[in-house]
């Protein structure tokens, strides 16, 4: 086997297949000392699989790995840790009823006499670590009570608490907003020394430019090319990735302001998160919701559909005042909600693709009396899978075996099959590749044209600017402004997103 001792990490001709899927064939990858290597490819291209092979979660069938010129054989995640490989997985892997500190040091707790834990020292160490990383987290906070973004930060802190040589990050920013992304990039730059390196997986293309040194593109489990970031354009990389060009400069379509109001929310207040949130959603409109993390966008959505209680609110749907006390009722009224956290609130992981795609609509569309119409269910799932190009070997594949982006497509499919009038999509394109994203945007535009009304909550400003007819900006539980499409820019949104905060900081 050829290998190059000057490389930090080398992957040569690696193969891995699963029943019905060739995840990797002849995969290769070189990571140099002191660099950040971007790894990009479409959903299901094999990025996560490669990283799981490197960290001993799967065992590969063929091929070799070298670390610092030495053959690398990891059988378990613990092996990987010992060899200096640290990974942040695409899906969060935290124990939700433990605290931040307990999660970070899980399995490596400071002990006395080998058995007794030393909670105070653990907290102190966590404080040190978080301070060093400039993260605003409470070591004693229960992970279950944190937002996805904060949980992601805990994962990052945990990965950086090892003395790692190679840090692998599988879509670390999919839940973060620009500010947090910038913060993470600072951390990464501080982590990289001439001895270490980072593999950075993302679907957010602009990040590649700001953080990576080189970029490796893979497609369908095969190595395509590696380019220097400085000398290549994003368009080139995208066309390597998806095999065609994508217009990333598209703008919202059919912006009009003469549409009737379908959903009107007035003075929505909850116990702690929301204060007098008011807005209108028009028929056939894509209404963007922007804001920093913790601004209350997800809380707004959950309160509207009755998933969380509210203190007061006047909600008017199609002109009549309604009270919605649970999501089932919301769905009956034609309001569907797609959660930002697909693993916890979206997927039935051990059930199949057909189930996950059709579960919302089975009762009203695919039954005769109490009996299911199995073939209609399969057909509907098949149609959705084809429309969204979900990569799956079959309708009966358990959804946990799909790649992250394909899982996300599956739950988008669920609400397309359901055919609601009002769709509340919370970070709908989280983990979805650039090509598929654009297709989903077009799909949503098409739905809006047909008279569906869509609320799109997104932490990605480019996404908001690409899609939203109007943008509601929230901050700290308040609506701080509503912008028309032509007024919305990065700057105007960010200004409103930080209004309330800066007011509070004033004496």
């Amino acid at each position: 086997m050829e290998y190059d001792p000057t490389l930090l990490l080398q992957v040569e001709d690696v193969h891995k297949s699963f029943p019905g899927v060739n995840a990797l064939s002849g995969m290769r990858l070189d990571l140099r000392h002191g660099e950040v290597l971007g790894l990009v490819g479409e959903n299901g291209a094999g990025k996560s699989t490669l990283m799981k092979l490197l960290t001993g979660i799967y065992i590969h069938q063929e091929g070799e790995f070298f670390l610092d010129g030495e053959p690398l054989r990891v059988r378990t995640p613990l092996d990987a840790e010992k060899r200096g490989l640290s990974i942040i997985h695409q899906e969060l892997n935290l124990v939700s009823h433990l605290t931040v500190a307990e999660n970070i040091w899980l399995g490596r707790e400071p002990r006395s006499g080998g058995v007794f834990t030393k909670p105070r020292e653990q907290i102190a160490r966590t404080r040190d670590l978080l301070e060093r990383l400039e993260m605003d987290l409470d070591p004693k906070a229960l992970v279950a009570n944190l937002t996805v973004a904060k949980q992601q930060m805990v994962e990052i802190a945990k990965a950086l608490s090892f003395d790692a040589k190679v840090l692998i990050m599988d879509e670390p920013t999919s839940a973060l907003n620009e500010t947090e992304v910038a913060q993470l990039h600072t951390l990464i730059r501080r982590f990289v020394t001439p001895e270490t390196g980072v593999v950075y997986i993302t679907h957010r293309m602009p990040e590649l430019k700001s953080i990576t040194d080189r970029i490796t593109v893979i497609r369908d489990g095969k190595y395509i090319t590696t380019t220097d970031t400085a000398t290549s354009t994003l368009d080139e990389i995208i066309s390597h990735m998806v095999g065609r060009a994508i217009d990333t400069s598209a703008k919202p379509v059919n912006v009009r302001d003469d549409r009737e109001v379908i959903l009107s929310v007035r003075n929505l207040t909850t116990k702690s998160a929301l204060h007098e949130v008011s807005f209108d959603l028009h028929k056939g409109e894509v209404l963007g919701f922007a804001g920093l993390m913790g601004a209350g966008r997800t809380e707004t959505a959950r309160a509207i559909i009755g998933a969380d209680p509210h203190v007061s609110a006047e909600i008017t749907l199609r002109g009549t005042t309604v009270t919605i006390s649970n999501p089932a009722q919301a769905a009956r009224m034609g309001i569907g909600y797609l959660s930002e956290d697909r693993k916890k609130y979206g997927l039935m992981l051990n059930l199949d693709v057909a189930h996950n795609v059709t579960i919302s609509s089975i009762q009203d569309k695919f039954t005769t009396g109490p009996f299911e119409k199995k073939s209609a269910i399969r057909q509907a799932a098949q149609d959705a899978v084809e429309l969204l190009k979900v990569k799956t070997p079959s309708m009966t594949q358990q959804v946990k075996f799909l790649s992250g982006g394909n899982q996300q497509k599956a739950i988008i499919g669920r609400w397309l099959v359901k055919d609601c009038d009002v769709l509340i999509f919370d970070e709908p394109t989280r983990g979805i590749d650039v090509g598929a994203k654009e297709e989903i945007y077009q799909l949503l535009n098409h739905l809006a044209e047909q008279g569906k009304s869509i609320i799109m909550i997104s932490s990605e400003l480019p996404e908001i600017l690409r899609m939203a007819h109007r943008v509601v900006v929230m901050s700290d539980g308040y609506v701080t402004g509503t912008l028309q499409a032509d007024e919305a820019t990065q700057e105007s949104i960010m200004a409103l997103a930080t209004t309330r905060l800066s007011e509070k900081e004033l004496p």
Partner: protein, 345 residues
């Protein structure tokens, strides 16, 4: 349903499953059940060899079936609940209470047999309804809610019966006993209990595999919050699932009292463990989201065969439990090992 045009129909990245692969999947599932069934046969044969004159006789096999009918009915209910990631500890004493209620309706109140049976089934459903309500509306953990119900049923069975068995009248209630010990097909040698078990399994199978209740059952067991956010009224369906389990419990109560010709208020405790064991042996995961009615049937048969076989070879009662416990560990361990291997491929 989709009116959205596919914006750009580039090559379909959806890999297709060849018919062979699909066939392989179906066979794998069949194989799993075949294996369990083979296990049942092996245990049966082993006892037949050890005790040829006493175990493998017609009357003893009927004994095994009578016991399997009761455990089987309870286990059908237990399976429905366990798949939803819940647990029902009240099926054992609930069965005893239902038997006492059946006797109350027919013997004490003198109601006709058909009405007594319907009322008993309704009563079982009512017990389940309360379990379900405690779990969903009051938000109690299923273990606690049904543990409490187990104790309540145990107590009520004694209270209602005045701490004494209630006997059915051999003449007035002949048709009641006929349900278990009669012969629908005269001279066939098959007691009706077998048909009741088959009926119970068919109903449970249809409920679990063909109806919306079964669909929501696995969905809730797999991820309750995601199911709720999908627009499904999880509370309502959970209550229905517990009510269905209660109905199967009542059927168990009817079958045991019809067989004995009396309602024994103190015989229920312990049956819940047998029902749960049968469910687990049958491949249903206690974590929820996955289960098999046929597997549970095989599990109930395995437990009945072992219970009976150990009695026949006159192993002391205390050792019977030791053996049964060991069997559960071994069976579930093998099942998990097989699942892990399938994953590692």
């Amino acid at each position: 349903m989709f009116s959205a045009a596919n914006p750009d129909p580039i090559q379909d990245s959806t890999a297709v499953v060849t018919p062979e692969e699909k066939q392989a999947g179906i066979w794998k599932q069949r194989l799993q059940q075949l294996l369990a069934f083979a296990g049942l046969l092996i245990i049966f044969l082993a006892f037949s060899i050890v005790a040829p004159t006493t175990f493998a006789t017609y009357s003893n096999v009927m004994n095994i079936l009578f016991s399997a009918v009761v455990i089987g009915c309870l286990a059908m209910g237990a399976t429905l609940v366990i798949v939803s990631a819940g647990i029902d500890l009240s099926v054992g004493t609930g069965m005893a209470l239902c038997a006492v209620m059946a006797a109350t309706f027919m013997v004490r109140w003198g109601l006709p047999v058909w009405l007594g049976i319907l009322l008993t089934l309704a009563f079982g459903a009512f017990i389940g309804l309360i379990n379900g309500t405690a779990v969903t509306i009051l938000g109690l953990p299923p273990f606690i809610a049904t543990l409490a119900m187990m104790m309540i049923c145990q107590g009520l069975a004694l209270v209602v019966s005045n701490v004494a068995p209630i006997y059915f009248d051999p003449v007035d209630h002949a048709s009641y006993m006929w349900i278990s010990t009669g012969n629908l097909i005269p001279g066939s040698g098959f007691p009706n209990a077998i048909f009741v078990l088959i009926l119970a399994v068919v109903v449970a199978y249809i409920l679990f595999n063909k109806t919306i209740l079964g669909r929501y059952d696995v969905s809730i067991g797999s991820n309750m919050e995601a199911t709720a956010l999908s627009g499904i009224n999880v509370k309502k369906w959970l209550i229905l699932i517990y009510a269905a389990a209660g109905t199967f419990t009542a059927l168990g109560g009817i079958m045991i009292s019809a067989r004995l010709g009396s309602a024994q208020p103190a015989t229920g405790a312990g049956y819940e463990m047998q029902a749960i064991a049968a469910t687990v042996i049958g491949g249903t995961s206690l974590a929820g989201g996955k289960g098999s009615v046929i597997g549970t049937l095989i599990g109930a048969l395995i437990i009945s065969v072992i219970n009976n076989g150990l009695q026949i070879i006159m192993l002391p009662q205390q050792w019977q439990n030791v053996v049964l416990g060991t069997v559960i560990v071994v069976v579930v361990f093998i099942d998990q090992l097989r699942n892990k291997q399938a994953k590692a491929r």
